[in-house]
Every structure is written in structure tokens, then in C-alpha cells.
Symmetry: C2
Subunit: 537 residues, 2 copies
Amino acid sequence: MPNKARATLETLYRIFTVPEAPDSTLGSIDHAITDDVAGFLRNHIVAVERPLEEIEASFSSCAIPEEPTYVSDYTEFVKENLVAQSVHTAAPGFVGHMTSALPYFMLPLARLMTALNQNLVKVETSKAFTPMERQVLAMLHHLIYRCPDDFYPPWMHNSQAALGAFCSGGTIANITALWVARNRLFAPEGEFRGIAQEGLARSLRHRGIDGIAVLVSERGHYSLGKAADLLGIGRDHLIRVPINEQNRIDLQALRNECRRLQDRNIRPLALVGIAGTTETGNVDPLGAMADLAAELGCHFHVDAAWGGPTLFSDRHRHLLAGIERADSVTIDAHKQLYVPMGAGMVVFKDPTAVSAIEHHAAYILRHGSKDLGSHTLEGSRPGKALLVHAGLSIIGRKGYELLIDLGIERARTFADLIDRHPDFELTSRPELNILTYRYCPAAVQQRLAEADPDERDRINGLLDQVCQLLQKYQREAGKTFVSRTRLRISRYGGEITVLRSVLANPLTTDEILASVLEEQCEIVRQPEIHALLEQIG
Amino acid sequence: MPNKARATLETLYRIFTVPEAPDSTLGSIDHAITDDVAGFLRNHIVAVERPLEEIEASFSSCAIPEEPTYVSDYTEFVKENLVAQSVHTAAPGFVGHMTSALPYFMLPLARLMTALNQNLVKVETSKAFTPMERQVLAMLHHLIYRCPDDFYPPWMHNSQAALGAFCSGGTIANITALWVARNRLFAPEGEFRGIAQEGLARSLRHRGIDGIAVLVSERGHYSLGKAADLLGIGRDHLIRVPINEQNRIDLQALRNECRRLQDRNIRPLALVGIAGTTETGNVDPLGAMADLAAELGCHFHVDAAWGGPTLFSDRHRHLLAGIERADSVTIDAHKQLYVPMGAGMVVFKDPTAVSAIEHHAAYILRHGSKDLGSHTLEGSRPGKALLVHAGLSIIGRKGYELLIDLGIERARTFADLIDRHPDFELTSRPELNILTYRYCPAAVQQRLAEADPDERDRINGLLDQVCQLLQKYQREAGKTFVSRTRLRISRYGGEITVLRSVLANPLTTDEILASVLEEQCEIVRQPEIHALLEQIG
């Protein structure tokens, strides 16, 4: 081997074996995060936003560097160009998306998980992680379905069954649920070998139907559209049912849609109830939906990606009544279980449901093995279940209850603040811990009350622009953050732009919420927004 | 608030703010991993395997604990019951699966990623991570397609385009590729609004075809079966084409299958070439497959989940010749890019290809935004791209080249050891860094050479059992590890069980490989295996 190659080889060997010295750049960042993660984030993330185009300049070469780089040089680059320009999702004033501060033990346990580098697809590369993941799924199953204790032992570690599937997030969870529902609807019977083998077109012919449909309210998550596309159902057959004033599915409209589908020989594959809509945090009438699903003989899925952990709360659990009748439930761990990004679950009432998507391979996932990969959409996966297991164990049911109660209380407090403020208008009242509102000065509220439809639409159009700029300027200033969306709200005669706040960070205080509104009142004085408000007249 | 609730609230607040003391149980584990991860794994993972049923006993309660638990108590539990009973995937003697030791900088950078907790679905929760991910995809695109440098600037950060999609692993990458292919085949035209809207059955009718098919060799990864199921194609139409002696797709058989499909009015959706088969590490004739795909006018996907990084090597890159003609390519970062579990990518030749699966939502992924989530199968995702970016930057093209060259060289060394050993038989010669072999004593090799088909099958059946037990006992002993699979190999007259070795851990030495064989020679002396060998006669 030539000398140069040998030198590089030695460097490589070092890369795989020698830890970073504590006083090196990366070592000191690592220590700073270990010692005080909140301080680290506060000190290293630059609040004021640089334009994305400027940031892009640091990430614009398409060439993979030829030569190795020193870790310290790379770390300096990352500190300046990536960390400084990332988003402080853990900040207590960042109340616009579904990310929160994390319990401190998540970081060292995540490092442990990374160091162990298990692959949960099969027992041979995950051993104890496999039963642990199965236990976590059983715990969630129990939280949702409250089956008697003796229900679980025969299923929990049973190679022929699974109480659910772990995955990278709610989207994959929703897709998995509908995949299972689809494959159960077209299960093998007689000569027909099932949809997994024969495909969708032949399955429809076999059953003599012209299509299958998924029904969800207008507030359904966009992942359901992806599922309808991916599974071959088509977005046309993702039926978005109108909602009532409480952002809940209109049951009569749902029944009508089902009838209309049946008239067209289209079979409802699944009703999807939402436990915590992404935009407004409302909960569908799950019990009534379960009734209808039973009547139709179709799958009932509940997307509780956000709201599922409300079940921890003795006080608020009743809001999700009926969820125990769902065939499948999605819960995101990286939301209200306070696990780092990239952990979701789908839980199935019937532990044999996943057999509808079972698959095998000669080198792993052999028949009879307990390999988790035989019924997951993903293949190789990390041991994220550890972090859920840790949360459930360390925080406990009562700890999560407190977090849930706190969030709902805080959302009500924020709603009160908005209600009492003359220049803001609550556009959706919080049922859980999400609310929407908009800036709408008292005088304009008055004008709107008296306006004819054309004038109303004109004013709302201008308020939409105000809302959009307000949200943008606030984000760019980097002190506090709310998100925005567009909602069709019947009392506004159409779709309007609203600000959206998610109250799940336990470090958010009432003072911070007050300051969010104060900052917004200041921002609207900026010329561009002021001009829009002037136009309202 | 009652006192008890307040006390719990304070505990909770501490959980979100106070770091673990360095001398606490979790703190000391954290430090041990920081200081010497290899030592930590060696010291804490128990080598000898406990039966899974025993481990399950520690993970058998379905009840979420009511009360919070001390972090230290939980950590003790994890140390004993999880860490001790996990798999030492980083061990240099663990040469059976596709996990390796990790470069040391991956751990602190993974912690940084977790601490930042960005959500890559949208710019508002990931800011600089978005251009960084786009750059990583461009780098991989450049590695594969080697487009001129001026190709990249208009596309890299273009909101209307994407050079690929990041995901949790190769399975999602393969599914995404075929999803894009399917949706492009049934793109909107005239009155027809495309498959995403209208679904598969109507799309087939629109084109007047009776089905679509995906063709791949028998060595194709099982994720393609999942894709065929999920996308509504049906596993019947995942055509597994016979292979030749080199485990490469038989081109004549492929042509014949295509013809047979066309005779049945079934349209080939995609040909899938494999660059590094999971079981034997072989590479399909990609250039010839590209020719055929062009002739058929169908999508050409290359599953380079394993073998893609071979492109780093000047010496071995030619093995993948033709990959630059693929419409899409899967590469796993958690394999030969040495990133921790849970990172894969699919790269598209045409930067507008992903528009076939584009989706939007009112609160994020708005039209014109650079949000990465508008064309990924997953929704919320972590910033794993940082670890790929770090690997490419720190290790560099030449570093990865060395790793690739080293693995291929080591596989040849191991093949030589097996060839020279009288009692082992190489069942597939390594083209990249994967090989298969089996225990077959010299005398039995002789017997087999002279045996009639019945006798051959009888002997092979017994050798299969030997192989299976040998692999199991070796795994249980925990010193070294190879995996096993079943391969149909024509010169053995059918399917046989083989041992499989993957040589990608740079810390694996020739001595370790010799000891793997030595240990196997010892294991076969155990009574149960010995009795099987006796039966051969």
C-alpha cells in the first residue's frame, strides 16, 4: 500500500475509534449541550431571520469534497451556517407549530440509542429492543382500548400478531392504517387471492364495485390525501365532508356522502375521525362515527396524531369518547409524548389486523420470527421506541396528564386574552390546546358586522393580507412565533387567513402569551401593514 | 392548585429544564459513551444471548406507570434489561448484517440534531436545514449522474423541483421511486386528471391496459413486494426474473417476461436494476437494462441502497456503469455512508419528476414554498441530512473510496480463506463486499459431486439444517456473527441455506475473519450438529 493511502487509512481508523477531545470544537459543543441545552440553543441560534436565499449560498456546491475535512473546521461551519440559522423550536415563545422543548433525559437517551445503533426490522439486530417496542405498543393499546389485563399476555410478544406498528411519524401511521383497512376489505376468499397479490383493479372487479372511498372532515390531515394517492384509491375518493361551527364533521353530511357513494357503487373503505385537528385542535364525534362505520361495515380509523395523549387526562379524556371503538388509531410520539422528531405509531384494536400487510423475506422476517419488520411499512428503523418507553416510564401517566391539562388550560387563557383584546378576534375556540385567531381592529369588527357580502369579502381579503404579513414579520423578528393557515369558516362566508397557536410547551407562560399579542400590535404599525388597514377605510 | 399538583408541576418543570448531573446514572452513561463509545458497548452489552422469552419478561406490563419514576431508577433498568440485551452491531466481528461501527463524530452531531429538533417538513421549522438537505441530494445526484456543474444551480434550491427525497430508509425510497413512476405513467392528459386524482382502476381504463408490472431479478429486495402491494399493483405483477450464475438478472428472461406481459396487455411500469443485492452483493447489467427500459419507454429504477457508495471508488465505480441512465436511484445513508439508523434517499434524474407526487396543505407546504414536505412520502422528519452532510464533508470522497475499497478487498480475502478451507464452500463469490458460503466438509463436497439428484437433495437438506444451527449457536455465543439466508442456486439444483457475510466495518481485520471460520469449525462439533453430519454418512 502506498504511504499516502496508508496515512489516509490511519486517519480513517481514527475516525472510527478515537473520541473527540472535550476541548475541541465539537467536543465543547457536545459538552455545552449536555450541560445546558436550553442555554446552548438560546446562545447559538440567531433570532433574527436571514433570507433563505442568503442561507442557500452556504449550501450550494454540488460537488462532494474530494479530501477529508477536519472535524473542527466542519463543526465551525455547522455552528455558523446551520445551527445559527436553524429554528428555535424549543423556545417557550415558539407557539405556532407542534414542536416543544424536550424533557432533558431525552437527549442522553437518544445518544444511547444512536450509540447502540439497533435496527428494529429484525430481532437479530435489535434483540431486547423488539420486546420493548412491542410493550410500548401494548401500553398505547391499553391507553386507547382499556382491554382487561389478561387480554395482553397472549398477544404482546406473539409472532403471529402485533398490537400496532411503530414508524417515523403520523403520515406513515395513517397510510399503514388505511393500507391494512384496504387489504382487509379485499382479503383472500375462495379463488381470489387478495389485493396484496392481485392488485386493486382485479379486487374491485372481484367484489363488483366501482371504487373505494375514504371519508374525513374538511379538517383532515393532508397525509390522508397522500394515502389515497399512494394506495391507488385516488384523491377524488378522499371525500372531504363539511364541518359544523365547532370544526367537527357534520354527521348528516357524512351520511349523505356515504349514501351518494353507495348510489355510485363506490364502497366506503374507511371513515376517519380526527382527535385533535391539526389546524384547530377539535375532536370529531367519534362515538357517532363508530356507529356509522359499524352500520356500513367499514373500517373506522382515528387520527389522534395530535390529540391522542389527551387520554392521559382524567379531566379531559371524555373528549375522545368513542376512540375505543376505532379499528386503528394514529398517535405521534414526537408531538405530545415529547419525544424528539421522527416517532409515530399506529395501534390496531385487533392484534391480527396487521396480518393483512404481512410480508417475509428469506434472509430476515422469516415465518414465525418475532421480527417487527414483517408488518411495518418501513424496513430498517432505529430504536426510537426507547424514547417513548422512557417518557411513559419517567413522566408516567400522571405527569403526562399534567402536561395535557396545562396545555388546555393555557389555550383557554390565551383565548381569554384574545377575546378581551379589542383588536383581535378568536376564529376557533380551543377544545384541546390549539386555537386560531386574527388581527381585526375593533372598528373593523364593527364594519364587518354591518357589511354586505361584497364589502365583507373585500375587508376579509385585506385582513388576510394583514395576517400573512404579520405572521411573516413576527417570524423574521424571531422573538415569538405563531403559524398561519387558511380556514373555511361559514360565519365568515368563505376561507380566511388566520393565525394559529399550539400550546404544548410547558415552559410557555401566560406572560409570554401576552407578549405575543403585544408584539403583533406593534408589528401592525409597520407601514406595509398599516397601509392595508387604511385601505379597509 | 392543590399542593400535590404544584409539586408534580415543579418536578415536570425540572424535567424540561434541569440537565442530568454528570455523576448520576444517566449522566455517567452519557459520559462513558462520550469518552469511549466502543468501550461502553463492549462493557455493557452482554455477549452471550439470553432467550428472547426471558427478555420479554422485563417488557410485559401493558399498564403505563401511574406515577413518575426517577431517571436514575429508569436508567438502571435500561442498563440491565435493554442495553445489556441489545446487539453489538458495531463489533468488528459482527459481519452478518449491514450495520457497522460509526465514525465518532456521528454521535455528538446526532445529539446536536436531536437538541435542535428541527422538523424538515417545512422551512418554518427547519430553516437552514432545508437548503442543507437539498444540497445533500444534489451531491448524491452529482455522484450518480455527474451532470455538468451548471446543471445544478437552477434546480438545487428551486421550489418547483427536487433532485430527490430524503426518507427514513431504503424501503420508503424504493416506494417513493415507484410511486413517482406510476404517477408519471398515468399523468393528467386532456380530460383525464391523472392517477393521483382518479385512482388506479380508472387510470388503467383510461389507458386501455389491464395492469402494470414491475420487473426485478429474484434477488430484488422485499421492499419491492411491499411497494407492489401498497401501490395497488399487486404482488402478482412484481415479476421476479430468473438470474444467472453471477446472481444478475438474466436479460433474455427479462425480455421474455416483458413480451409475455405485453401479450396480456400489461404494461411494464418499471424495470428495477440492483446495484448490490442484499443477499449476495451483485450488480445487475445496468446499461443493458437501461437500453431495454428505453426501448419499452418505461421507468428505470436502480436500487443502490447498498451498493451506491461504490461510486466513490475510482477503482470499482465501473461495476455500476449504466446507473447514470436510471430515472431514479435509492441510496441508504445508514448503510455505506456510515450514518446512524434511519436515513435513506431516493434521487431522481429529472428534477421535475417529483411533481408527480406533489401535495399541498393550507397551513404548510403552500404553493411556491421551498418546504421539502411537498414531495416526500413522510410528513414530519428529523434533520438526518446533517449526518450525511457531515459524512460527505469530513470523510470526503477519498475517505469513502478507501472504505469501499477496503470492504471489497476484505471480502476477497474472506472468500480466499473460505476457498482454501477444505470444509467450507463459497456459494457466491463477492463482486462488492458481500459473500455467502456454507459449511460443507471436504468429504461431503466429494459425495455431492457424485450424487444423483435424490441423494444430492437429501444431503443438501441436512447441510441446510447444519447451516441453520451453526448460525444460531454462533449468534447465541456472541463472539462473532454472520447471518443466513436461503438462495436458489441452479448448480445446487434448488434452494439451499447459506451463511452470509457483509464486510463493511473498517475495524474488521483478517484475523477476525479467520476466527469466524475457526469458531464455526468448533461449533459443528456440538452433538446436535455432529449428529446431522453423521447422517450424511
